[in-house]
Amino acid sequence: MSAAKSSGIDIKRSLLETLVAGFLALIVFGPVVGVVLDGYSFNAEPRRVAWLVGGVMLGRFVLSLYLQSGVGQRMLQGFDSGGSGVHVLAPDYKSRLRWIIPALIVIAIVFPIFANKYLLTVVILGLIYVLLGLGLNIVVGLAGLLDLGYVAFYAIGAYGLALGYQYLGLGFWTVLPLAAIAAALAGCILGFPVLRMHGDYLAIVTLGFGEIIRLVLNNWLSFTGGPNGMPAPSPTLFGLEFGRRAKDGGVPFHEFFGIDYNPNLKFLFIYIVLFLVVLAVLYIKHRLTRMPVGRAWEALREDEIACRSMGLNHVLVKLSAFTLGASTAGLAGVFFATYQGFVNPSSFTFFESALILAIVVLGGMGSTVGVVIAAFVLTVAPELLRSFSEYRVLLFGVLMVLMMIWRPRGLIRISRSGVVPRKGVAP
């Protein structure tokens, strides 16, 4: 049907769409751009409005024409064919990822050779958000429990390192597992009261939890340093430090190996460890989704009553999702603290939670690959577009709106391989 339509380009329709877009742009930009405050009076700036509206109209006209052409039609159909729900792959489906994953690993190994310090830090930040996205993906994407206070676990990991260093003299390597455990415990503690809640109620309670943690960190001046924050130690390699001069009588890495001091080494080391941790978490998550507990999470998301009538203990299923999700965030927090060298409560606001949730939603609920891509898009893109940093949130909004139109299920839809066909069952 649409093929027949696309043979001729409907100029009239395009013009109509252009006029509507222009009218909307006038309403939106008119007051915002057209009126400039000048002391207590204001100046009308009709020319700026005209330029903007003209730009919008031209863009809409071109888009309209393009979408009516053959190429555009095909593109539209490509977007529509998504359908809904989980995509179940054929049991013997061989994923293209078999080729992509080794390629990515090679790129990751080669990358530090070419990267400067700035690029390295950007990628570290990206990887931290990959971890956070993967953790939240278990809670929101797989188990279907909307958690708006996820940043609390991230804060627990980061402050775990800072506080452990300050009061107990613990280093990066000791805290790494401890923070994961501490965050998991916090996940458990949060999990218990919210077991009976669903949807909106759950979201509100978790939101409250996230704020409680942040406010405690902010106001407990004597213990956490309040808004002044706390220093966090750098990682060490078998006791070798990456600073120019070793603290507490240690040996700096560069002196031990007799090489010149390189300030990038710390970040290079964090990058390597973080990359290995991300790979491990990816692998564990990949296996989990194929294990009974992964299926149980998905069952819980799809129908809690049916899940319980199968004899599943919904308490355990929910708690395991919360716990595993939280422990991943704890890991990410430790890396964040050591990478920054400093933590303070302003890094753990609700905006972070929203950003992590955006990563999961943009990537596609429950889809691992999608979350990895989205984490990089949402953390690296703002860095590349530094000069537009004021428009960052606006760009987020635009991205989300576009997503709702074209990819309502996320960049990459959740998919899982079907059950292996069994002997004796004829197709």
């Binding site: 729900g85 989980v86 179940v88 054929a90 009974p292 299926r295 149980a296 998905e298 069952a299 799809e302 129908d303 009553i305 049916a306 319980r308 009538s309 199968m310 004899g311 599943l312 203990n313 919904h314 079907g418 059950v419 069994r422 002997k423 004796g424 069952v425």
Partner: protein, 238 residues
């Protein structure tokens, strides 16, 4: 008489201040098909759910194969030989038929999964045609078949069915009851909660009639089918 597989003794169940079940006693013997019929709000589903402790019985006892399960947790009961096909089907919408069936094997592990799945496809040939289709894309009747098959995958000693005819066309209801009859002949113990009294009574060895949270009448399926009161109340009185 052999010992009953499931016995309820003087069960009282409350929803807050409202008493939903009043001193309900009944029993199911291994191998028989028992149905519970009654009007909307009589407490049929409540009875079925309270076997699983949702809601928990305020007083009375539920005895399953000699053990008191009145205070046991729901998942313990559900994974020890009592399978349930919940009201309104409740299949996992985003999972395929095969995945749904695999979910049913959770209580016993997947060691019999292959042969049981094969058995289910013999019992419900429609499911075999649809085996790689997602459950949400199937018709109501197919979903009901899937819900029953999923419950059977755990090799239950006792199968509880909550309104398998709910919202289905008469012809599909007929098919489902034919399958249930087939199932009963293999020796499966079935406890059926139904509004469709005609079908249910024809299928059952024995039946209970529930009115306002109390068991009003009991007898064999045939007895109740010809009973004047039952005919007037549930069978349209003709």
């Amino acid at each position: 008489m052999t010992a009953p597989i499931l016995e309820l003794r003087d069960l009282d169940v409350f929803y807050g201040p409202i008493q939903a079940l009043k001193k309900v006693s009944m029993h199911i013997v291994e191998g028989e098909t028992v149905s519970l019929i009654g009007a909307n709000g009589a407490g049929k589903s409540t009875l079925l759910m309270s076997i699983f402790g949702q809601p928990r019985a305020a007083s009375g006892q539920i005895i399953y194969r000699g053990t008191d399960i009145t205070r046991k947790s729901s998942h313990y009961i559900a994974s020890n030989g009592i399978a349930q096909s919940p009201e309104g089907r409740r299949v996992f919408p985003d999972m395929t038929v095969e995945e749904n069936l695999m979910m049913g094997t959770i209580p016993i592990g997947d060691k019999y999964a292959d042969q049981d799945m094969q058995r289910m496809y013999e019992l419900f040939p429609r499911l075999k045609e649809r085996r790689n289709q997602r459950a949400m894309t199937m018709s109501g009747g197919e979903q009901q078949m899937l819900a029953i098959a999923r419950a059977l995958m755990s090799r239950p000693k006792l199968l509880l069915l909550d309104e398998p005819s709910l919202g289905l066309a008469p012809i599909v209801v007929k098919q489902i009851f034919a399958t249930l009859r087939e199932l009963a002949q293999t020796g499966m113990t079935i406890f059926l909660v139904e509004q469709n009294a005609n079908h249910a009574l024809k299928l059952s060895d024995r039946a209970y009639v529930m009115v306002n949270g109390q068991i009003r009448m009991t007898g064999t399926g045939q007895e109740l089918l010809v009973n004047e009161e039952v005919r007037n109340a549930y069978l349209g009185g003709h």
